[in-house]
């Protein structure tokens, strides 16, 4: 208060400063002001009633006496300062507050922030930090507002973990942005929220939208465009068209990208026009978007080009005949023959085909891959004798083109979100690895699975795990919906059980274990009880593995119970 408050009377200020100066220099050099040797400066606070205390105090004592009086006088005279400008009130959060039990749980989850989980995560206690994302997602799904006093802890958690930021900021709501403007540590919240947290104009408000679009910062404009696009795709496209010609190339690219949402046949004319853009990246993106529209002219052009390269060859003998001249005994098997394009003409380039192949790839196969990838998948049934996708995928391919062709179909299936083709390309989950479509890597399988609905995805991954075990399953499990569907959960638990009986250590499976803790349906906890005991060690087992497994399963069960309790708390309102 010293800083801003005026002491009671101004003369005292001068007196005090005189005292400080004298004290600094020492009474040997300077006589205290107004305290000549004499009894007029008693320790007034203590014995105002007892004047005349012997001989006059020496100078230092007189100085201390006076300073004591001044100090207490100054302190007693302190008054509040003028109020600074008060912050604008935070916007009201209309969401209902968390149920009390859930609020306590959140405090517990936020209190457990071990920074780095030092030295492996053994032990039987659940890893609370890993449950925070799930808790946040559940709370967001139910639309609860956090208690305001936990906002600092939430923001601190999100500051350290970028993956948490979107869910944290959604949950934390508008008051967190209000808070973040007051603390530089939480600037990220303003950055991660489009428009620095400034409210977008009401999307019905045409003038407001147009004004922000023309005058706003880049981030605000992107936010505006995506908001409008998810609400009214045509309006967003029209808005973009108004300024398209004057935008910078990298901005055009970002804006074009936001058309991915709600992409439809109506967008074709605009995209077709963007194919002639000055920037190569913009052209490529426009072509990619057009190829995802099977009815577009570009798709049709690509179909024509791709069809020209692929044909059924009825003269080929089976692989077993080994390319020798077909004898009368062998039956000719329909085979796909590939004739890759010989050149990349300007029309192809205009349609987004990249002419220059990356190092180490042949040009012709590079062009071929791009054509097939961009051609509508519906083309192939027509072209290949009315066969279903499954039949087409099963056809042999001449001259080692199978890898290239199937890989391109995978990309096309993902881009066009074609479940039937994805199913065909994925094949049977139980098929031995080598027997499946060879070109399909685990990463591509994971992407293909993304086009199937959740139940089918879970079913397929369950089948895969039942045959191939867990060592390859991590990536595939990552695309499955949480909580895992019952067949998938059972498959994972069974596979873990088998891994345990095989005598390996649990940390070989720590990735899957961690996923299971977070993704297994809590209602499965009961089925795990049998696994909690420390088993008798088989002869060939790794020493002590049984105990570690029991511990790992205990943690799994505890975590599941905890998740069940968490969900329960959020459900009771």
């Amino acid at each position: 208060m010293n800083r801003t408050s005026a002491p009671v009377d101004a003369p005292a200020t001068g007196a005090w400063e005189g005292l400080v100066t004298t004290a600094l220099l020492g009474t040997d050099r300077r006589t205290p002001p107004g305290t000549g040797p004499g009894p007029e400066a008693p320790v007034a606070l203590l014995d105002a009633a007892a004047p005349g205390t012997g001989p006059g105090p020496e100078a230092p004592v007189a100085l201390l006496d006076a300073a004591a009086v001044e100090t207490v006088r100054r302190r007693a005279g302190l008054r509040p300062a003028r109020a600074a400008e008060r912050p604008r009130p935070a916007p009201e959060d209309p969401r209902p507050p968390l149920p009390p039990a859930a609020a306590r749980r959140l405090a517990l989850l936020l209190a457990d922030r071990p920074g780095a989980s030092g030295g492996g995560r053994r032990g039987t206690a659940p890893d609370l930090t890993e449950l925070l994302p799930q808790w946040l997602a559940a709370a967001n799904a139910r639309g609860f507002a956090p208690p305001p006093q936990v906002l600092p802890a939430l923001l601190d958690a999100a500051r350290g973990r970028t993956d948490l930021r979107p869910t944290v900021l959604e949950f934390a709501g508008s008051r967190a942005l209000w808070l973040a403007r007051l603390n530089p540590d939480w600037r990220f919240a303003l950055r991660s929220t489009p428009g620095g947290g400034a409210a977008l104009p009401h999307l019905e408000d045409d003038d407001g939208v147009r004004q922000l679009w023309q005058e706003g910062l880049f981030a605000e404009r992107v936010a505006l465009l995506s908001a409008l696009r998810s609400r009214d795709p045509a309006a967003a496209r029209d808005l973009l068209a108004t300024t398209w010609a004057t935008e910078r190339a990298e901005d055009r690219l970002m804006f074009l990208d936001s058309l991915r949402t709600g992409l439809g046949p109506d967008d074709e004319p605009f995209l077709e026009q963007a194919l002639a853009d000055r920037s190569r990246n913009v052209r490529a993106t426009a072509a990619e978007l057009l190829s995802a529209l099977p009815g577009s002219a570009l798709a049709a052009r690509m179909a024509v080009r791709a069809e020209a390269c692929v044909a059924i060859d009825h003269t080929q003998a089976t692989q077993a005949a080994g390319g020798t001249e077909p004898s009368g005994a062998t039956v000719a098997t329909p085979t796909i023959a590939v004739e890759a394009p010989h050149e990349c003409d300007p029309a192809m380039e205009r349609d987004g085909v990249v002419a220059k192949a990356p190092a180490g790839r042949g040009e012709r196969s590079w062009w071929f891959g791009q054509l097939v990838e961009a051609a509508p998948l519906g083309t192939w049934s027509r072209r290949l004798g009315g066969r279903t996708p499954r039949e087409i995928v099963a056809l042999p391919v001449t001259d080692d083109w199978q890898g290239e062709l199937h890989a391109a179909w995978c990309r096309a299936a993902v881009r066009q979100r074609d479940a039937e083709w994805s199913r065909a390309l994925l094949g049977e989950p139980s098929a031995p690895e080598a027997g499946g479509p060879g070109a399909v890597s685990l990463a591509e399988r994971a992407k293909l699975l993304g086009t199937l609905d959740a139940a089918e995805r879970a079913e397929w991954v369950a089948g895969f795990i039942a045959t191939h075990g867990l060592s390859e399953a991590f990536q595939l499990l990552g695309v499955c919906a949480v909580p895992w569907a019952p067949p998938l959960g059972r498959a994972v638990v069974d596979a873990l059980n088998i891994a345990r009986d095989a005598g390996s250590y649990p940390w070989s499976f720590s990735g899957v274990m961690g996923l299971a803790e977070r993704c297994l349906d809590p209602s499965e906890a009961g089925r795990l009880d049998a696994l909690l005991a420390v088993p008798d060690e088989p002869e060939n087992a790794s020493p002590g593995a049984g105990g570690y497994w029991a511990e790992a399963f205990q943690r799994l069960v505890t975590t599941l119970r905890l998740r069940a309790a968490m969900a329960e708390e959020l459900n009771t309102s």
């Binding site: 208060m1 004290a23 004591a68 100090t71 109020a83 209190a111 032990g123 659940p126 505890t558």
Partner: protein
Amino acid sequence: MTQQGVRWTADQVLALAPDAASRKAGSKLGAAGPWSEAGSSDEGTVWGLCKGSGSKPYQTVVDIADASGPAYKCSCPSRKFPCKHALGLLLLWAGGDAAVPTGEAPEWAGQWIAGRRKRTEEKRAADSSGSPSGSADPEAARRRAERRAERVTAGAVELEQRLTDLLRAGLATAEQSGYGLWEETAARMVDAQAQGLAGRVRELGAIPSTGPGWPVRLLEECALLHLLGQGWLRRERLPEALAATVRSRIGLPASADGPPVRDRWLVLAQYDTADTRLTTRRIWLYGADSDRTVLLLSYGAAGRAPELALPVGLALEAEVSAYPGAGRLRVALGEQFAPPAPTAIRPQGMTTSQAAARYGDALRDDPWLESVPVTLGRVVPSPDGDSWQLADADEDAALPLTPSARSRPGLWRLVALSGGAPVRVFGECGHQGFTPLTAWPEGPGDAIALC
């Protein structure tokens, strides 16, 4: 003792931890995994078996019924108190986990509880039977007190001499002479059995390194120290209350001999300060009926949490007795009639001007007072340059926060709670500014601890 409904919050449990490491270790154990045969009884006992690294699980019991703070017993070898197992068990219980069902205490836990209750009873009986503790010989006690007073007087005279020397040479020399001189003087005050003087002298040594304006602060503290020394030397001529204040500021022991005051005491705030020797816990209580704010002090050796622990926001029905001295803020906890329970009690609020005046008034009785406990009724935390202030919602007046309060995480909890709207804030108001300790939202809502 109908205690079963009141589970503590995780924060309240974690406040019991003696240090950060225990807090972390306890959090890890606050899940059902390692625990078996855990349970809690309606009498306020929580128990459980915790699997450790050994073959035999640790037996952990906590008695939370005692209003003077929980008591712990654990068969683990840790010398931390409470150990991580006790903390983990309480966290598990606080989390409302099904792993701690209500039930009957097993024999091993029951025995300890019974023994503890019996000892408490005996102690209470002994206390109330009226045999004054301490020496039976009043004459000897008087002589001891006299000898001690002589030593303190010798110390005070010596201190006066040192202060005089310092002022004669000038405070500028204090910057050069450094900490050593003060440490030595402090040691002399310890020899003189004047702990209060020793503590103040030690703080003097740190002032020259506190940045701009240090000469002012050093002169202030020297002057107040001088005032205290003079107060002691002339104590016979002071009014009784002021003399008692001087004695307690010097560090002479006193006993809480005020009449017991029974009230519903709301636990306003609890926080620890530690130096190399001692952890001091301050607990502020607010009496709902008497409208009084009082202070409980509890001490622990360095590295151990003081024993007394009261959860902020709960209220307990108890008697307290004041220690002698002006203001009579410090009290001792007497008999407790009911354990802490949730409550809607809030202290009455005042404006910032009234708070500043309250501090000024209090200085009349105790010029050495650093701050007074006050509750501000409707204030808005507002940024003020690099600092923060609590601005009155209805007046153009504000109290700045103390420098230390600005850097605490509690500040942000307060700001978040307010969201620009008025809140009620309890804290300490003094010459350095305001230290917020607890806050309540304007509408209904629990007390939020800020320290």
